[in-house]
């Protein structure tokens, strides 16, 4: 009897190991104490549950379930922590694939670790162009990196200028200003450098006058001096490139000062549902690039956003692109019949995938190809406590962009 119990106990203990060995292990690496990490994890959970419900991923003749592992990179606070997290995901957790990352500086460091270990790393957070440029520069080493979301910084720039042109048109018509004045307010970090340079070069060509460039720290808690100077310069628009808490501060303090200029650009904090509360209801008219809303950018977007809201009670941010990343992996693994990274890379390069946020197709830098109808992202504006999508205007469900002072 004792022997039977011992054998049964051993069997029970061994069972999870057998399951774990059989599953495909995907590490979700991100700042888990923050909204970015929460969204990455949530998107991954939804994909895992959907795929596992159907029996898993077909690898050859065998169905293998997905196991996702939560790895906190703490990268918002510490880049070295992010590198350690990637080491842990690859060596201790023995993940087959890695998805996530947020802060460009941290993702560049994490990319090195993943490439050292020849692990496919699907980015769902960082925009810096250097991540893709590495692939072009040294293909054999960096070919395992693919960026699922967001667009790279030049791609984001293209969308920004397209939307900016549309807003400038509205200002010309509504405010009767032929040459709208634009203040550039970009936090001083790596990912904004290309955007700032492009804005300084392109805005005058688009018949807009750049009245100045202000570069606060991403963690600045006060921008009153910057906003006073922008007001003084007579800006009609504040072109933002903000990913840190300064995005909340800008929204709130612009509202408090009742500035006549309207803010548009990238404001990662304004993409979150909590922005309105964080600005104590002062963030009206703040507009930003975004990825998800209940509009028909792709056939999958509305069902995904609705399901996400139902499960997590909030709108997904672009970091929830982990959902698309896992589905993309499923497609190429099933095509290849293996999880061998070297066999999956060529398939990922060729795959065209209609995702929840965009029609994904990778260029030679393994970045999503930009283009209307492919991947542009959307633009949203906070209007009376609601995040309202307004661009691309031709997509069904878009609303009108509002200017301060307009009723």
């Amino acid at each position: 009897m004792f022997r039977i119990l011992v054998v049964a106990a051993a069997g029970l203990l061994a069972a999870p190991t057998v399951l774990a060995e059989d599953s495909i292990k995907i590490a979700i690496v991100g700042p888990m104490a923050f909204a970015q990490g929460e969204n990455q994890w949530a998107g991954a959970e939804m994909a895992r549950d959907e795929i596992n419900k159907e029996g898993g991923i077909s690898v050859g003749a065998k169905k293998r379930k997905i196991e996702i592992v939560r790895v906190d990179s703490n990268e918002i606070q510490s880049v070295p922590d992010a590198t350690n997290a990637m080491e842990r995901a690859v060596t201790r957790e023995k993940a087959d694939f890695v998805i996530g990352g947020f802060r460009s500086e941290a993702v560049l460091a994490m990319q090195e670790v993943a490439m050292d270990n020849k692990k496919i790393f699907l980015g769902c957070g960082a925009a810096d162009a250097k991540l893709g440029a590495n692939v072009e520069k040294d293909y054999e080493r960096y070919k395992y990196w693919f960026r699922v979301a967001p667009l790279n910084s030049p791609g984001l720039g293209k969308t920004l200028f397209a939307v900016l042109g549309s807003i400038a048109g509205q200002i010309r018509t509504d405010l009767k200003k032929d040459t709208p004045k634009v203040a550039i307010l970009a936090e001083k970090v790596m990912w904004t450098e290309a955007i700032v340079k492009a804005a300084q070069a392109n805005l005058p060509k688009m018949k807009m006058e750049v009245v100045g460039l202000w570069q606060p720290s991403p963690n600045a808690t006060d921008v009153t001096a910057e906003l006073a100077a922008i007001d003084r310069a007579g800006a009609d628009m504040v072109f933002t490139a903000l990913s840190g808490p300064v995005g909340v501060v800008v929204g709130r303090q612009m509202g408090e000062r009742k500035m006549r200029a309207v803010a548009f650009g990238i404001n990662v904090e304004a993409q979150k549902d909590g922005f309105w509360e964080a600005t104590a209801g002062k963030g009206n008219y703040v507009a930003t690039l975004d990825t998800y809303a209940e509009v028909e950018m792709t056939p999958k977007m509305i069902p995904f956003v609705k399901a996400f809201k139902e499960r997590y009670h909030k709108t997904p941010t672009y970091n929830a692109g982990t959902y698309d990343a896992i589905h993309l992996l499923k497609i190429v693994i099933e095509q290849a019949g293996t999880i061998d990274a070297n066999k999956l890379v060529p398939l990922l390069e060729k795959t065209k995938y209609v995702g929840t946020g965009a029609d994904l197709e990778f260029d030679k830098m393994h970045d999503p190809i930009w283009g209307l109808g492919k991947d542009t992202g959307i633009a949203v504006q906070w209007q009376n406590g609601k995040k309202v999508p307004f661009w691309p205007t031709e997509v069904k469900g878009m609303k009108k962009f509002g200017l301060p002072g307009e009723s």
Binding site: A33, F34, A35, W214, P216, S217, T221, T224, A229, E277
Partner: protein, 289 residues
């Protein structure tokens, strides 16, 4: 631009002064370099958020609750963490760093990493010399002035103030004269942290509340007290205004270098340490026993 610099520097400098006075006071009296000072400021902001936004209490009640709770917490921390190692300055420094990090992690676990906003106590914008200034910022200016007056009254017109000044002047002699220097130090901790909590409650509605909000002000406060003179309250006020104005000038004159605000403050600190280590109003090290 001149009016912008004048008003922005004054308003921001007053917020720094609120924080720096308490930091300087506790060093002047008890020789405690309390790195957790701005962490108490962060806790006060979270207490205010919880009481006002989550539990829906009134602004005044929430503010008072936040200041009282954080002050009481500081006394517990003093008895449990600081007092046992008070004689060892390095140990105090390390203990207060540890306290600050514990508070940060607790805030992160309880409230998460999201940035939180607190409604202003007074809505609207005032026009000062043609500059739009939110009323909440003018309130900070008023609170800073009031707290400054109150601190002066406490230190120069009460028996407790006399004891605090005597202890600050000469710890050993005060002890020999029969003063309970430990109780004086404890009272000073309470006053000092109370001031930090008042600062937290006042500025939280114009800033963003997050678990790391204590780090940037700590750098500024260190610059302010080194500039004004460690232990000098008058120096803290002057130092705070100087830093407030230097930051405003940096942003207005060098917009592309707005991110250098903190670096400029730190550079001033280093220059002062090299040229006049005792600061503008501090006690020269040679004069100390």
């Amino acid at each position: 631009m001149f009016q912008d610099i004048l008003v922005t520097g004054l308003v921001n400098g007053s917020a720094y002064a609120l924080l720096a006075i308490g930091f300087s006071l506790i060093f002047g009296v008890a020789r405690i370099v309390n790195i957790a000072h701005t962490a108490f400021y962060m806790l006060a902001a979270y207490f205010l958020y919880a009481a006002l936004v989550q539990f829906g209490m009134g602004v005044v009640l929430s503010g008072v609750l936040a200041v009282v709770s954080v002050t009481l917490l500081s006394l517990v921390c003093y008895r449990l963490v600081i007092e046992p190692v008070r004689q060892h300055e390095a140990a105090v420094l390390i203990a207060t760093i540890a306290l600050a990090l514990i508070f940060q992690e607790l805030a992160l676990r309880i409230f998460g990493g999201s940035y939180l906003g607190i409604p202003s106590a007074i809505e609207g914008v005032a026009n000062v010399f043609g500059i739009a200034i939110p009323w909440q910022r003018l309130l900070i200016l008023g609170v800073a002035a009031g707290v400054l007056l109150l601190s002066w009254f406490l230190l120069y017109r009460t028996r407790l103030g006399l004891a605090i000044r005597a202890t600050a002047n000469d710890l050993e002699v005060a002890s020999l004269m029969g003063m309970d220097v430990n109780r004086v130090a404890m009272a000073t901790v309470a006053i000092s942290v109370g001031l930090a909590a008042i600062a937290g409650v006042s500025v939280a509605p114009v800033f963003v509340v997050d678990p790391f909000m204590w780090l940037a002000p700590l750098v500024t406060v260190l610059s302010v007290v080194v500039l004004g003179g460690l232990g000098s309250i008058k120096g803290s006020v002057v130092g705070a205004l100087v830093i407030g104005y230097v930051e405003a000038i940096t942003v207005f004159v060098l917009p592309q270098g707005a991110f250098l605000k903190g670096a400029v403050a730190l550079s001033i600190m280093v220059i002062v340490l090299l040229v006049r280590p005792e600061g503008l109003f501090g006690v020269s090290f040679e004069e100390e026993r």
